[in-house]
Symmetry: C2
Subunit: 108 residues, 2 copies
Amino acid sequence: MIEGDEDRADAFFHALADRTRRDILRRVLAGEHSVTALAASYDMSFAAVQKHVAVLERAGLLTKRRQGREQLASGDVEAVRSVASMLDELEEVWRGRIARIDTLIQEE
Amino acid sequence: MIEGDEDRADAFFHALADRTRRDILRRVLAGEHSVTALAASYDMSFAAVQKHVAVLERAGLLTKRRQGREQLASGDVEAVRSVASMLDELEEVWRGRIARIDTLIQEE
DNA sequence: CAAACATACAACCATCTAGTTGTACGTTGT
DNA sequence: ACAACGTACAACTAGATGGTTGTATGTTTG
């Protein structure tokens, strides 16, 4: 599994930094899909898509459950939210800057 | 120079997928810093930090303004917000899935 | 003017990444 | 039993990435 917060962030953002993976994530957030069903949507080999799914799984953005011979992939919305909250924290840093600027203006 | 939404998303997430760049972004969201001042914080060459700043700049996450011989870098909170809104759209996709599941349950 | 400073960028290198093909193995259906 | 299906993974390749050092250019200071 993935270690610290920074490692988690690395994995999250790296997983999201590829348009094929973002598209796969959209599909599996909308509903369960087998790896083969996902692979049918893209102009690349099954193995390539399977690796993208593995990257998303390793980042915790999707989970798989076995059903017979298929692996059904499903998006984890909680993980998506936790990425969003990392960005919210960045915005909070910015708010601190604005607050400091306002203080300076008032002191004049 | 005209990039699509997907190219922008690629650049955003790739820029954020490195912990040094996330740390630089935190600093420049908190306030302006020269490239040299930023470089002093990290255990790597000035050139390496300068390249990280360039990646963030190309992604639109920070801007620079010249002041004398220094370049002062400043974080762009609007860009951070637009990344966050991409994630919100993913969450919306997931809400659609839940709505569909609820409809199925009601039809039973 | 010369020296020191701040920045940008080229060239290079090791490693990672995203794709490929091929193989192996469990599951399903005939 | 066996053929077809669904998946995983290894080995390989081209190109991207993150780091290095060295050089060039503009700016400030003595």
